[in-house]
Symmetry: C2
Subunit: 217 residues, 2 copies
């Protein structure tokens, strides 16, 4: 049996109400609700607080993609109820260190997003050494449009055996769920395949079913 | 006579009202109001709209530090009244290209922030080639705490003669105004030296006076 990853729905509408609605539709089938970066930048802390209040039993991830002022920037989001936030792997190590410090002070976690990091294995080892609890393998939206996928990087990072959670994001859809589960991801991020579906609840349920099947086989 | 740079006040309080108050105090003495990244992430578009309404005659910069989904992320900020926003120089070139496209469609500008870019000159040339109108030399807060300054990078980037505006940020204070003016910056960003002063209006006036003196000498 393969390890069963947590399912994270990434919400990237820019609209406050539509984001809550999509979260409600997906929530029964996912473990983690993600407020995506463009959505967060438009809506700020009020959306984080609303999401926390609406879904007290879900894990809440805020995709801050912090690049500077690590501790200062992430702290209000832990205070508002985020369980984990992201810091960019291309940031200065002092920024990453500050965010990890804030996470630990709150008894929470930080994810280092390896998007556009040139040497991903080396940076993953460095941030785990500093105390990061989650490493994120991530092919950006603009990179997906150019045909890139996160699967080779996922195998590389899982293969390091770092003893932390590995998250994977970048265009995951029903057809790729099985390979992600087999590759040993701890967190599988699904965005457009749920939020862009005609029936987001049915799409989320389908992802859930496929994860259960792949983990049981 | 040296070129007179525009003065940009960087607002990095996390509080909506306090940010507006600091902007009001500094506004008579500055050309550009900047909503800083942590401030923007906490307060979102409503703060951008409030700032636009309060200061119709100032240039408004939103420090998005966009890392992905360039066009999608920056568009609502131009729509809300930003005159320019930032995209990270460490982002994929497709992300930078998307943001530039959005800027041009709105008749506005985009600043590429060179924070943590390994080869700053090379990346600066690439983004100017793509159509970026402003290049930002930037020593981050966490890097300033480690004793770094932006002045050597500023000289390097101005020295390239790229024919675009060069912005400089990173702990600029009264003592360093003259050297920034002499180095030929087009935009000088001042944060804590104004917003952290006992009398922010007096501090902004002092920066304005020093810029006028340095440019006239």
């Amino acid at each position: 049996m393969a390890k069963k990853p947590l399912i994270q729905v990434a919400l990237d509408s820019l609209d406050f109400g539509q984001t809550l609605r999509l979260a409600s539709l997906a929530a029964p089938y996912v473990d983690i609700i993600e407020i995506g970066t463009p959505c967060l930048k438009c809506n700020g802390l009020p959306l984080v607080k609303a999401m926390r209040a609406l879904f007290p039993d879900k894990l809440l991830f805020v995709d801050l993609k912090t690049m500077d002022a690590g501790k200062y920037e992430v702290t209000p989001f832990y205070d508002a109820g985020a369980d984990f936030v992201s810091v960019l792997g291309v940031a200065d190590l002092a920024t990453i260190k500050g965010a990890i410090e804030a996470a630990k002070e709150h008894g929470k976690e930080v994810q280092i997003d390896l998007i556009n990091v040139p040497n991903k294995s080396e940076r993953a080892k460095e941030v785990v050494e500093l105390g990061a609890q989650i490493v994120g393998v991530h092919t950006g939206i603009d990179q997906q449009l150019a045909g890139q996928t996160p699967f080779a990087d996922l195998q590389e990072i899982v293969g390091l055996g770092l003893g932390v959670k590995v998250s994977v994001a970048g265009g995951i859809k029903p057809e790729t769920v099985e390979s992600v589960v087999k590759a040993g991801a701890d967190i599988m991020v699904v965005g457009g395949a749920i939020t862009g579906a005609d029936d987001p609840a049915a799409a989320a349920k389908k992802i859930r079913d496929l994860v259960e099947q792949a983990a049981a086989s």
